[in-house]
């Protein structure tokens, strides 16, 4: 409690410093704008890499260190300062503060797909079409590629992707005679059967997670968020949103979901001891299971995400790419590093070795990748399932231009429906109202239905 007063006054102090440096930043920008011309073409990138220099890269991916080392080996004149500025929202907060301050942002930063529109719309990111990167489109799967394209600009290159899949514990499924579900109705039936047979066991854990909710709405065909510049439209009661909410209500209202919050110690233990029998999550999950749920080795399997009508339909969950910040003093060099990082076989090899799930079509379709049969999954060729999942991802999804904030108030609204075992539709409506109020306060023109 004592620390708090310090935290609050510290934040005020930071705010003061922020303003001071913003003034200096604008002054510097004023000088710079006259000297530097408009960056153009991929020749700039090649020249910058040849000339060398120093750039800063913010990332929390486990492969970042090895990738930077490999890059510096390939381009000895370039020095990359790697900084781990915290995981997801922690990093975004720091990034947002540095942008507001006008200085202190890195040249290249890791940003998840859901947060890219927020930074792109505030004009903080370099549009990479200036370097001809739009020609790289065919190298990536459609879902991640559309996530780095915002309002006609290209604001990053995809790194990983997270097509959803059903990860299930085969030992538990066999023990209780559950069939691997292909539809959500079957999934709910499994949930009831399992919990009736063992009150300690649940089909899955979900105590309310904004990323999961948006992915599920996406999969159900919902497109609740659309935006065009400052015009935002929110409809969290569109057909797809309602479809998901009504289905998931069955699990929430009958208390068929493990209340253990995701990513807690309890959660990892539940995944290992069979109390949580399945997960619907992104294709990056195998690496997490292998490293953090050692008890589950040999028991887990992967199946396509269940659907509403049995026909394949999928969405993305998580994943992200790297962006070049407008504050960068050497954007051409930063772009060169970015292109190497997410588009060169050498870098992607390092990324794959760390257990990542790529977004590049050549890696996803390579024989070696598809033939991978990890012991953890009982020798199942899991990448065949996951890659098919990537192909089934439906298009046209977009996040809000203030999705980071939206996720931060998810627990206040939809989360309350989980606590009270109430109607998720009511929670979604409350979320929509808060999001519309915030958007209007921030100068957007928000229309809701």
């Amino acid at each position: 409690m004592k620390i708090t007063s310090r935290t609050v006054s510290l934040s005020r102090r930071i705010a003061a410093i922020v303003v001071a440096s913003a003034l200096i930043g604008t002054a510097l920008a004023g000088c710079a704008s006259t000297s530097s011309g408009t960056p153009a073409g991929s020749t700039d990138v090649a020249a910058a890499l040849k000339k060398g220099g120093t750039i800063t890269y913010w990332s929390w991916t486990p492969s970042a260190e090895a990738q930077v080392a490999a890059f510096e080996k390939a381009y000895p004149k370039v020095h990359v300062k790697l900084v781990n500025a915290g995981t997801n929202t922690t990093e975004y907060t720091k990034l947002q503060n540095a942008i507001k301050a006008g200085s202190g942002a890195p040249d290249v930063a890791q940003v998840e797909y859901y947060a890219i529109p927020q930074f792109a719309l505030s004009k903080s990111l370099v549009d990479l079409t200036a370097y001809g990167f739009d020609s790289l489109k065919s190298a990536y799967t459609p879902g991640p590629w559309s996530s780095v394209n915002v309002g006609g600009g290209l604001y990053g290159l995809p790194q990983d992707s997270g097509p959803m899949a059903l990860f299930y514990n085969k030992t538990v499924f066999d023990k209780y005679g559950l069939t691997v579900p292909t539809t959500w109705d079957e999934y709910i039936a499994d949930a009831k059967k399992l919990h009736a047979a063992n009150p300690e066991a649940y089909i899955t854990s979900d105590s309310g997670d904004s990323g999961f909710t948006t992915s599920m709405i996406w999969q159900a065909g919902g497109r609740p968020f659309t935006s065009n510049g400052s015009k935002v439209s929110i409809n969290l009661q569109d057909e797809g949103s309602k479809k998901w909410a009504s289905t998931w209500n069955e699990l929430v209202d009958n208390k068929l979901l493990s209340p253990v919050p995701g990513w807690s110690d309890d959660w990892f233990k539940s995944l290992g001891n069979g109390n949580v029998a399945s997960l619907i999550t992104g294709a990056w999950m195998p690496g997490v299971l292998e490293s953090s749920v050692k008890d589950g080795s040999g028991q887990w399997r992967v199946a396509p995400t269940p659907t509403y009508d049995g026909k394949p339909a999928n969405s993305e969950n998580g994943g992200g790419g790297q962006v070049v910040l407008k504050q960068s003093k050497n954007p051409a060099l930063a772009a060169g590093f970015l292109k190497w990082l997410n588009n060169s076989p050498g870098s992607i090899k390092v990324f794959l070795a760390s257990g990542g799930f790529p977004s590049t079509t050549s890696e996803l379709n390579s024989e070696a990748f598809l033939a991978d049969a990890p012991d953890y999954f009982g020798g199942q060729k899991i990448n065949e399932v996951l890659v098919q999942g990537a192909k089934d991802v439906s298009t046209g999804w977009s996040y809000l231009p203030y999705q980071v904030y939206a996720n931060s108030i998810y627990g206040d609204t939809v989360g309350q429906s989980y606590v009270s075992a109430g109607d998720l539709n009511a929670g979604l409506s409350a979320w929509q109202k808060s999001l519309a109020d915030y958007g209007n306060q921030q100068g957007f023109t928000v229309t809701t239905k």
């Binding site: 409690m1 620390i3 708090t4």
Partner: protein, 306 residues
């Protein structure tokens, strides 16, 4: 209070040399004043300045006068947060101070074996950083695999649910009591040590027993210390942040983003970029805390003078 009494002392001391202004004193306080101005006054002035504007993602910054203040007074989330910490204050602070007082009296009674050990043992939680304390208790409260799960297994039912909506405030209160009981005990214990021993001797000669000594000598002697500890605890309760903010990971829905006023201000500025409104919330909260602390001090010192 202390600064005004210093001023009064200074006024009393100067009349003889009133005509000659001597600035040499300022040179001695200058190092302090510089830091004080830069670190205390400037941020407060800056925050007040911030609270008069509204910055938008689209549309830039506009001067809005006192609109942010009007918005705070109509903000149900803010009042809900304030209500919650007030409830916390009314229940937790008396329990904690009563425990601290009992511990201090026990240590001072000289009837306790290993008093030095108990003194340090009770104080030790205060030396544990608040963040670490919240994490430790997070493990203990885990009702799947933590100590709580063990107790529940023993009882054969889900009796304890520290993270449920009904219990969460009590769970946080328990952590805070554990953390700060020793700190308050030390304040009381220090105050008890300065009671002159001849008073006790006189009481003994008058035939006062141990309990009579406690209620007629020790507790009256502690009045000043109790007022101070109460003020510290009020400020601490209103500033509640670390414990709920860390437990939010384990209980994301029950602990909302506006669970306490400080969490609300924090999330407004760092998740929502509403720096102006967050500054307003911080200032309103600061004024409310100062007023209540001042009222408690006034009441406390009035009773003292009676």
């Amino acid at each position: 209070m202390t600064s005004t009494s210093i001023v009064r002392l200074a006024q009393r001391a100067t009349p003889a040399r009133r005509n000659r202004r001597d600035w040499r004193g300022w040179a001695f306080v200058a190092p302090f004043m510089l830091v004080f101005l830069a670190m205390i006054i400037a941020p407060v002035v800056y925050a007040i300045g911030l609270s008069l504007f509204r910055e938008q993602l689209f549309g830039g910054t506009v001067f809005v006068g006192l609109n942010n203040y009007l918005a705070v007074f109509q903000d149900a989330k803010f009042w809900q947060a304030l209500g919650r910490v007030t409830l916390f204050l009314v229940v937790q602070v008396p329990i904690m101070l009563a425990l601290s007082l009992t511990a201090a009296l026990a240590l001072d009674s000289a009837r306790l074996h290993g008093a030095a050990f108990f003194r340090i043992a009770i104080f030790l939680p205060y030396a544990v950083p608040g963040v670490v304390a919240a994490l430790i208790w997070g493990f203990i409260y885990g009702d799947q695999f933590g100590l709580t799960a063990g107790i529940n297994d023993l009882l054969g039912a889900h009796v304890l649910e520290p993270f449920s909506a009904q219990a969460i405030l009590g769970s946080i209160g328990n952590i805070v009591t554990w953390e700060f009981m020793g700190y308050n005990m030390l304040i009381f214990y220090a105050a008890l040590r300065v009671v002159p021993s001849d008073i006790y001797e006189a009481a003994e000669i008058d035939g006062a027993g141990a309990m009579r000594t406690v209620f007629s000598i020790k507790i009256p002697a502690l009045r000043g210390a109790i007022v101070i500890a109460t003020i510290f605890s009020i400020i601490g309760s209103f500033q509640l942040f670390n414990e709920p903010n860390l437990l939010k990971i384990l209980s994301p829905n029950v602990i909302t983003s506006y669970f306490t006023p400080n969490m609300y201000a924090y999330n407004l500025s760092f998740a929502g970029q509403q720096f102006n409104y967050a500054a307003t919330v911080a200032i309103v909260m600061g004024v409310i805390t100062a007023v209540i602390a001042y009222v408690v001090q006034l009441r406390g010192s009035r009773q003292e003078s009676i």
